[in-house]
């Protein structure tokens, strides 16, 4: 789980312009300036990174990083 959070953090800071200082497990996606289109873009990138498909109705800008990581972890498992 921590590993997934760490990998999400790397993707968001390197590809989505999220400042490393603002990233945390508790951060809400919209507070990181990730809107619904950014989550679609993240889904495309995550498909390569984690090998799972995330559709736009499974994740919302009001979710936290931990909730996103839980979703990805459940699909990887």
């Amino acid at each position: 789980m921590n590993d997934v959070i760490e990998r999400i953090g790397k993707l968001l800071t390197s590809r989505f312009g999220v400042p490393a200082a603002e990233f945390s497990a508790e951060a809400v996606l919209s507070d990181l300036d990730l809107d619904s289109l950014a989550l679609v873009e993240f889904g495309l990138v995550a498909e390569t990174e984690f090998g799972v498909k995330i559709s736009e109705d499974e994740v919302s800008p009001t979710d936290t990083i931990t909730e996103l990581a839980t979703l990805i972890a459940s699909k990887v498992a």
Partner: protein, 353 residues
Amino acid sequence: MTSAVVCGIGSWVPPTVVTNDELAARLGTSVDWIETRTGIRQRRVVEAGGSTADLAVEAGMRALKSAHLDRADAVVLATTTPDYPCPATAPEVASRLGLAGVPAMDVNAVCTGFLYAAATGAGLIATGVAQRVLVIGADTFSTIIDPADRKTTAIFGDGAGAVVLRRGEPGELGGFGESGEFGGPGELGEPGELGALGPFDLGSDGELARLIWVPAGGSRQRSAGLAAPAADRYFQMQGTTVFRHAVVRMIQSVRTALGRAGWRIEDVDSLVSHQANARILAALAAELGIDAGRVVSNIDLVGNTAAASIPLALADAARCGRLRAGHRVVLTAFGGGLTWGATTLRWPDITPM
């Protein structure tokens, strides 16, 4: 197979500009919301009483002038916003261009329309129906947008772009050809001659038709004999779902077209995609591994002009020197249908009008 070679290009947008300031005030949103989500700063809209044909005639005239031609043997018009539900708009455009009598038809593949029309034009040449085809992409989405829908109102603009395709000489195929070599500028008859359209990749998925549609006004609603709700008479789009399909389909289509042409991603000088949304362009380029410097975009100035967007972007890029003769260009688009497509060409030595 006989190739089709781009030998002229023209474009036209109506003079009326709608800025984000005006839209933000009218729609109760912010300039920042529009810019960050779309990358669009302004768009053009047709004047009251104006039409798609008006824009298409202007762009078509300019493309013929750019090709140093008075005539074309056929007119193919890509549009989703014809002047009337019936008949097609292309015959009127042909007549107003002084081409009365030539074969003329509309092609509707929504935002992929220009690529479908170009493939159709290449087919008319390959079958010997025509030697020179005027291929126009023209749309006036401002006439079908729901004025209460801030998302689509912010995205779409009106415009037209056109190219003239001429019959190529034998061997004027696009791409590098079998030998892996390609001709230099002006080397007629060599594989990869400038302007020759490469192999096309075109596709569709009708199961997802309702992601991008106008529900009312067609036979399904009219046969029911019931008046349609006001919103159903306007264009509707499921933006975020469309975003994902657009990126995924254009990636696949670009890879297929490049493979058929014998090009690698690193061979591409310019990616010219349908100007749907600046963030779609960025995501597409990033996933393909094409750096931002090789992406052609004019969406900030004209918005999403549907079938007109590729020839408008090409003409603008050629006009400012961003596209030069010999550049290896990949074109790709995605739109309602769903439809998508891609093709390649080496940019010809032409002056956009």
